[in-house]
C-alpha cells in the first residue's frame, strides 16, 4: 500500500518537474524572442500559471486528502473564494517580507510582486490544494512530527526547499560578475525554482529511504 503511494507521489512530482522544464522550453517555439533571462517577467507569469494549474489538476486527479464532509456547491464556492483570498494574501505577505529583506521599495515593484507570486505558487498554492484554507492544518504540517501522510511530508519538503532556494538565490546578487542573471529578481526566482524542483525530487526519495522511521498518526 505504502509503496504504491510513494510511487504515485513520485510520478506526480516528476510531472511537476516536467512542467517546470516545459515552461522554459516550449514558449521559445511559440513566441519569437522569448528567453528565460531576457523576458524574465513573462517566464515568471508562465511558470506560476503552469505550475499552479498542474498542481490543481494533479490534486483533482489524485485526491491525496480526504474529501470535505460537506460538499454542497455553495460550500465549494465559498471554499474556492477563500482559497483565492488566501493566495492573494500570501502574495502580499511574501512581497512584504521580500521588501523587508532588502528588495527595492519603490523601484521594480512588478518584478518583486511576480516573484512573490511564484513563491506563493510553490508554497501556498500547494498548501491550499492539499489542506484547504485551513491555517491550523498548515501550522500543524510545518512542525516536527506534524505530517500525517507522505503527501504532507512531500509538501513540507518542497515548500521549505523552495524558500531556501530563494534565500540562497540572493547570494550571487552582490558579486561583480556582470552576468545577466544577477539582476533582481532573476537569481532569486531561479533559486526558488531549483529549490522547488530539488524538493520535488528529494521528497519521494527521502520518504522511500526513511519509510521505516516514518509513522504517520492515523486520523
Amino acid at each position: 500500500m505504502k509503496e504504491v503511494e510513494v510511487r504515485r507521489l513520485f510520478a506526480a512530482n516528476l510531472f511537476c518537474v516536467f512542467s517546470v522544464i516545459l515552461t522554459a522550453v516550449v514558449p521559445t517555439f511559440l513566441w519569437d524572442g522569448f528567453t528565460v533571462l531576457g523576458t524574465h517577467l513573462a517566464w515568471l507569469c508562465i511558470c506560476s500559471v503552469c505550475v499552479g494549474t498542474v498542481n490543481v489538476i494533479l490534486h483533482l486527479v489524485l485526491k491525496p486528502n480526504r474529501s470535505p464532509k460537506r460538499s454542497s456547491p455553495a460550500h465549494k464556492i465559498s471554499r474556492f473564494l477563500k482559497c483565492c483570498i488566501y493566495f492573494f494574501m500570501s502574495c502580499i505577505v511574501f512581497h512584504a517580507i521580500i521588501v523587508l529583506y532588502g528588495a527595492p521599495l519603490l523601484g521594480s515593484v512588478t518584478e518583486t510582486f511576480l516573484f512573490s507570486v511564484l513563491l506563493s505558487t510553490f508554497t501556498t498554492l500547494q498548501c491550499l490544494c492539499m489542506l484547504g484554507p485551513n491555517i491550523q492544518a498548515w501550522i500543524r504540517v510545518f512542525s516536527k512530527n506534524g505530517a500525517m501522510s507522505i503527501w504532507e511530508s512531500s509538501l513540507q519538503i518542497t515548500a521549505v526547499c523552495s524558500v531556501l532556494g530563494a534565500w540562497f538565490g540572493a547570494f550571487p546578487i552582490p558579486l561583480d560578475w556582470d552576468r545577466p542573471w544577477q539582476v533582481w529578481p532573476i537569481s532569486c526566482s531561479f533559486g526558488a525554482t531549483f529549490g522547488y524542483v530539488a524538493g520535488l525530487i528529494i521528497a519521494p526519495l527521502w520518504i522511500h529511504w526513511n519509510r521505516k522511521q516514518l509513522t504517520y498518526k492515523s486520523r
Binding site: 532588502g102 491550523q136 558579486l175
Partner: protein
Amino acid sequence: VDSGEWDMLIAHFLGVDHCGHKHGPDHPEMEKKLTQMNEMLRSLVDHLGNDTLLLVAGDHGMTETGDHGGESEKEVNAALFVYSRTPLFGTGPPEEPEAIPQVNLVPTVALLLGVPIPYSNIGEVMAELFSGDGDTVSAALQQLSVYHINAKQVDRFLQSYSLVAQDLPAEQLQRLQELFSGAVEEHTQLLDQVQGATLVPPELESRLGSLISRFQLYLREARAVCTQSWARFNSLRMVGGCTLIAASCLLCYMAAELAASSDSFYRSCLLYPLLWGLVVAVVFGLSHVFTQEGLDLLLVSSCAAAASQLGFFWHWWGRHPKRALLVGSQPPLASIGLRQRLRAWLGLAFPMGILLFRCGAMFSDSFVVAEARVAPFLLASLVLLLVGKLHWDGCLTVTEGPRQQVLGFSSYRREIWYLLCLVAMLLVCVRLSGFFHQCREEIPQCRPSLFLSPLASLRNTRAKNLFYLLCVALLAGLVYAVRSWLRHYGNLNSSDPLVLFVRWGFPLVVLCIACYWAVVSSAEDSLGKLQELVQVAVVAFPWAVYGLASMGLLLLLCNPMTVFAKDTRESAGSIVTPYLGVPSSEVDFLHVIPQIYKRMQESQKSRLERGSCRATIAAYGLGSVYSAALVIALTLLGFLLMLLHSERLSLAFLLLFLEAFVLLHIHTHARGLAGDAEPFSVPWYAVISWLLAASQFFYSTGHQPIFPAIHWNAAFVGFHLDHSTNLLPAVLVGANTFASHILFAVGCPLLLLWPFVCEVSSSQKKPKKEPREELQEVEEHMMEMRLRESPEKFSTALLQLGLKYLFVLGAQLLACVCAAMILRRHLMVWKVFAPKFLFESLGFVVSSICLLLGISLVMRVDCAVSTWFSQLQRR
C-alpha cells in the same frame, strides 16, 4: 580626435581584458579581439597630428589561462607602444627594446604635458622622448634637464617621506642623498661650463653622458630601495598572527563551554595560563635587557599570548582524561550524553551557520563592498530562522483540548502574536536602517543617503526647520522612553544623585544638544551681529554636554544604586514616652492617652496580621538595578555619540536603540517559549544577532570601512581651532566611527539580564493583590535578584557571555585577517581588504574594551548591592 579640442585623451579598452580573462591568450577569440584593436590603432594613427604622442600600454599581462595578479614574468610584463609622426629616435629604434617599469609613464607624461611631476612619483623619465629634433648635444642637454627635475622631485619626496615614516633604512637613504647631491653639484658645474663655452663637443658629450647615467643610477636605486621596503610581506609573522587569533577564538569557545562545568576551572584554566604568559614575557624582556638588543614589543606580547594559550590548552588536556574516565565508567550515561551532545550540535548549527556565512563573506571583495546589505540580510534570516525553529519544535503551539488533539490540530499560544509583532518590528527597523548608508566608490550608481549631510547644507529653510524639530523631538522621545522605562521598574523613586540626574540632567543634556544643533545648522549670514556669540556657543554647548555626560557617568560609578528603600520596621516601644511620674496636669493626660491608644492599636494590628506578614523593608527597583544602571550608561553614551554625528543621524540612533530593545525582547520571549532550563547562559543566536546588529549599525550610522568615508568633522565638535595633540581628535573620530560597536558592546550584559527583568511583567499582577509587605518579600527574590541568589553562577554567566561575545568578534576578525593574508596579491587588496582589515581590527579592540567596561559596570553595581544589603542587615 579630429575636433582638436583636447590636450590629452585617455581611452580604456576593456574588451581585451575581458577576452583574455575569458579565453586566455591563445584563443581564436583573442586573436579576433587583437585584430580589432590593431585596426582601431591603425585608423587612429591616420588621424594624429604631427605634435601628438600616442602611447599604448597594457596595464598587466596574463598567464596561459588568462589570469593575472601574481608576480610571474608573463603577468607583470606588457607591451608599450610609442608612436609619433615626428621621429623620436635620432637613430633607428632599438632592436631589442628594454623593459621599463610602469611607474616611468607618470613623470614622462607629466613633463611632456608641461605639468609638474606628481609629488609621490618614484619613476624615471623615458629620456628618448625628450631628445627633440636638434643635434646630439642639445638633445643630451634637454635630457639632462629633464633628469634633473625628476631627480629633484624624487629627492624631495624621499626626504619628506622619511620624516613621517621610518620604514626606509637610514644608511641607504644616506647613500641616496650623497648620490643625489654629487650629481646635482656636477650638473651645476657642467651648466656653468656650457654657458662659458669652455667645453668642446666630444668631451662635453662624454661628460653629459656620464652625468645622465649618474642621475639614472640615482633614480633606479631610489626606486629599488622603496620597492624593497614597501612591497614586503612577512609571511611567517602573518601565519603566526592568524594562528594566534584562531587559537584565541578556540580558547574563547572552549572556555565558554567549560565555564559552567566546574569550580576549579577558573584557577587551573584561566589564572595559571595568565601567569605562564607573564613569566614568558618577563623572561623575554630580561633576555633582551641582557643581550642589549632592541626590544620588539610585538614579538614579546605575541610570545606571551602564545605561552598563555599553550598553558590553557595544556591544563585543559590535563583535566580531559579524568572526565573521559568518569564518563567511561558509566556507559549508559555516556550514550545519552552523546545523543544530547548531537542534538546540542544541531541546535548550534543554525546560528553558527549564519556566522559562517558572515565570515565567508569577508573573502569576496564584492561581499565586503556590499556588506552594508549583507549584515541586515543575515540578521533578518537569523531571527526568522529562530522563529521557524521554535515553531518546528512545537514550542509555539499548544494542543487545546482532547478533541483537537485527536484531530491533530493545535493553535498558537497568545504570546506568539507578541513575538511575531516583535519580529515584524525588527524587520522594519532593519529595513529602515538601510536608508542611512554611505556610498563606496566601487558602486558608481549609489547615491549617499541625504540624512548624512549636516542640516546646515540644506537650502530649503522649511525642510531644515522640519528636520530640526524632528531630531529634537526624537531626542526628547528617547529621554521620555528611558525615564518611563525606569519609572515602570521603580528605579526613579529615590532621591539619590543619580536618579536626580536622570530626572533633571537628561533633559538638560537634550536641551544643550538641541541648542548646539540650532547654532550649527543656522545659516551663517543670518546671525551677522551675533557672530561672536555663535563662536562661543559652538564650543560651549558641546562642552556642556561632555561635562554633563561625564558627570552622569561618574555618578553612575560612585553610586549605581537606583533603589528606593522604605523602611517600615518600627522601633517598637520608643513611641511611648518614658513614664515621667504621676501625670500632673491635663495636658500630660492629653499627651499620654492617645499614645497608649496608638500602641494598643498597633499591637492589635500586628496580632491580626501576624500570620501573613513581617513588616520589613520595601525596596523599589531592586529587581532591575543592574539593567537600570546599564540603560542609564547607554543613554548617556548615546547622547555623546549623537552629538558627534550629523544631526539627522539621530534618527539612525533612535532606530538603533529601538532595534536593540526589540532584539532583547525577542530573545526573552523566545527563551520563555522554548522553556529554557538554563537561565544563566545566553544562547549563541542571541550573541550572534547582537553582533550582527552592531555591524549593521556601523553602516547605518553612515560609515564604510574605507578612509574617505570617515567623518573627520567629528574631531571639531566642541573645538573651534586646531588640536594641540593627536590623541583627543583620534578619540572623537574613533568614537564617531565605532559608535555602534561601543553601544552594543556596553549593552552586551543586557542579554543576560533582560530575561530576568522581563520576568516580572508576567507575574506582576498576581502579588499585587496580596499585602504590600509580602509583595516585597516575594519580589526580593525575583527578577535580577535571582542572580544574587547564586553569585557563583552569576559571575560564571557573565564570564561566559563575555567569552561568547569575544568568540564571535574574534571569528569575524579572523576571517578578515585571513582574507587580507590570503588575498594579498588580489587586485582589490588595498582598496577593499586592507581597509576592511584595519577597520575590523580597530572595531575589535574598541568592542573588547567596551565589553569589559560594560561587564565591570555590572560588577560595580553588584558590589554596591552587596554593601547595601549588608548595611540593611546591620541596621
